[in-house]
């Protein structure tokens, strides 16, 4: 299936939870926030939240800013 991940098309084979997606991308969950279809997903829900075909996923973190 195909999702939109941080503005790019991203292919996933089979079912994947947010926790698994982050692991695949080598991203530490404690340093990021994740939004799926404009809904912020709580960190505690990462392990149960299944990514679906066509989902728009945004993964953000902190960068330098004023």
């Amino acid at each position: 299936m195909k999702i939109r991940l941080n503005g790019e098309d991203y292919e996933i084979e089979g079912e994947l939870t947010l926790e698994e997606l982050l692991r695949r991308l080598s991203i530490l969950p404690e340093r990021v926030a994740v939004e799926v279809n404009l809904q912020v997903i709580r960190k505690n829900d990462f392990k149960d939240f299944k990514v679906k075909d066509g989902d728009v996923v945004e993964i953000v973190n902190f960068v330098g800013g004023g």
Partner: protein
């Protein structure tokens, strides 16, 4: 000296100098400048993770959230909806409810859209955020923000990154007399004396990013700003002498040779 503590919503702030983390050469320079400034509040922005970069470095590896209070901003947001979205993501990415709220009205000046700002402040305050809105140097707006639930107000000294200093000290003074919440000057500070002026007026803190990061030697400027803020605060607490047109001799006339 009597204890002079800055406490906002039950949170104690150890320094009255707050610093941004944008525009530095690299994360190591950011870390060293923040350390030299003695700040304990550090602002950050919320942006997409670079998915493709496997060796990505994280700002929080350099700025330890256990040591510093991380204050995420909503920089780059031009609508209420965008600002709310960034604030909610920031809260989930971070460890606190604090947000430096920006709703920008114009790309060239980066002046705030105060109507949107008041609206977003009200919504986020109701959601339990500790809202620090970046606002104009306008006392009426400051009052509206306080009424909307802002934890403090952050009037600009001058446009973001302009280094023009405190352009309207009289308005800042009126803001200080108008609101009960702390007043933190945000933006415009170009050099140490600008920070001192803000503090001498009675502001509770100053937030500086470009003034430090853009200096030829950011580490030295960070240290200068640290002292400038302390000096300004002490001068404010000490109470300056009134300005007079004519001289008044410092040395006694008594005992002079005739």
């Amino acid at each position: 000296m009597q204890e002079d503590r800055l406490i906002i919503r039950g949170i104690e702030f150890k320094s009255r100098l707050w610093v941004g983390t944008g525009k530095y050469k690299d994360l190591e320079e950011t870390r060293r400048a923040v350390e030299a400034s003695g700040a304990d509040v550090v602002t950050v922005a919320v942006r997409r993770v670079n998915i493709l970069d496997r060796n990505r470095e994280n700002l929080l590896d350099y700025i330890d959230p256990k040591k510093y209070k991380i204050l995420p901003n909503t920089a780059g947001c031009y609508t209420v909806e965008e600002a709310l979205r960034y604030a909610r993501l920031a809260r989930e990415a971070g460890i606190s409810d604090m947000v430096k709220l920006e709703v920008i009205g114009d790309e060239r000046t980066l002046f705030p859209d105060v109507c949107g700002l008041i609206k977003a402040t009200e919504i986020l305050a109701k959601e339990g955020f500790i809202v620090f809105p970046y606002t104009n140097d306008d006392p009426i707006t400051a009052k509206r923000l306080e009424d909307a639930g802002a934890a403090a107000v952050m009037p600009l000294g001058a446009p973001i990154g302009s280094g023009l200093g405190i352009r309207n000290p009289y308005n800042i003074k009126i803001i200080l007399e108008t609101v009960k919440v702390p007043v933190i000057v945000d933006a415009g500070v170009g050099t140490a004396s600008d920070a001192t002026i803000a503090m001498e007026l009675g502001c509770d803190a100053v937030l500086i990013n470009t003034g430090i990061a853009g200096a030829r030697d950011p580490l030295k400027m960070a240290e200068a700003m640290k002292h400038a803020v302390i000096a300004g605060r002490l001068a404010y607490l000490a109470g300056r002498i009134p300005k007079k047109l004519y001289a008044s001799a410092s040395s006694p006339l008594e005992g002079m040779l005739i």
